[in-house]
């Protein structure tokens, strides 16, 4: 279904990013997953070759402009310019607003939001030339609902949604779509950190009565990258078991 596509997934070691990498690979795409460490990149590369998929794991720090530019250039030389970019890499540095340290604010904004500007800019040239391309940004339900203790994270994700709409308007005429996916609570290391009472409170707010699975987010990413989604642009699609409805 996605043969010939070169898909770059940032933050592909674990959780949703890992599931997205897998689903794209199974759909026949060449997948490049990024990690911040050599060992992380090697683990992604190992998984890809073990499964007989096409692609590689690469080291990239999306928080650093030079790392992104060089990394995407190298991918272009080795596999061809990315035709699909999935901006998944993200961090949390939770804390109450009144006590939030400047470095916790800056790091979340830089890694989650400014990174999307960097990676998107770096892949756009190739997509403009190809007259086709897909950029898929991972937002979060908290971008809309807000979340106490996540002022920085929610701001970064709400920023991503605004960026998604603006960029979509700029490049739509060149056959490029830019969309966001806003997952609710998904079974990942990020949500496993919660204690039982937090978990129960969370479940009571989800009509589906369960957490989502990473694959349920990844399937949407694959759809958005497909030909069938060519007319969906600038949109944020929620995947949250009904906990927040537009």
């Amino acid at each position: 279904m996605l043969e010939g596509q070169v898909v770059l997934v940032t933050g592909a070691s674990r959780g949703i990013g890992s599931a997205i990498l897998e689903r794209f690979a199974r759909a026949g795409a060449t997948v490049i997953g990024t990690a911040t460490s050599e060992s992380g990149a090697a683990a992604i590369a190992g998984r890809i070759s073990e499964q007989g998929w096409q692609g590689d794991g690469v080291v990239m720090n999306v928080g650093d402009a030079a790392s992104v530019t060089e990394g995407i250039k190298a991918i272009g030389q080795n596999f061809g310019a990315p035709t699909v970019l999935v901006n998944n890499a993200g961090v949390t540095r939770d804390g109450l607003a009144m006590r939030m340290k400047p470095e916790d604010w800056d790091e979340v904004i830089n890694t989650n939001l400014s990174a999307v500007y960097r990676t998107s800019q770096a892949v756009l040239k190739g997509m403009m030339k190809a007259r086709t391309g897909r950029i898929i940004n991972l937002s979060s339900v908290v971008a809309r609902m807000g979340n106490a203790g996540q002022m920085n994270y929610a701001a970064s994700k709400a920023g991503i949604e605004g960026m998604t709409r603006s960029l979509a308007r700029e490049v739509a005429s060149r056959g490029i779509t830019v969309n966001a996916i806003a997952p609710g609570f998904i079974e990942t290391d990020m949500t496993r950190e919660l204690d039982e009472s937090q978990r129960d409170a969370m479940l009571s707010a989800i009509p589906a009565g369960r957490l989502g699975e990473a694959g349920e987010v990844a399937d949407l990413a694959v759809f958005l990258a497909s030909e069938g989604a060519a007319y969906i642009n600038g949109e944020t699609i929620h995947v949250n078991g009904g906990m927040y409805m537009n």
Partner: protein, 78 residues
């Protein structure tokens, strides 16, 4: 070998979808040839590729006519 002007005009035609007869050396990309801002960015990208050069953003902004582009390339080619 074509002249720089001929090569620039050819790229302008390809990028902006205009006929060669419409492109004069004084033609403005935006006002005469109907380019929008995204077209001009793509045009600069195509010129960079054709002439194997890098045009810095602050220079690229000044290239508003065919002549501007030709002059820039001629003065920056070795």
């Amino acid at each position: 070998m074509s002249t720089v002007e001929e090569r620039v005009k050819k790229i302008v035609c390809e990028q902006l979808g205009v006929k060669e007869s419409e492109v004069q050396s004084t033609s403005s990309f935006v006002e005469d040839l109907g380019a929008d801002s995204l077209d001009t960015v793509e045009l600069v990208m195509a010129l960079e590729e054709e002439f194997e050069t890098e045009i810095p953003d602050e220079e690229a902004e000044k290239l508003t006519t065919v002549k501007d582009a030709v002059d820039y390339i001629e003065s920056h080619s070795s």
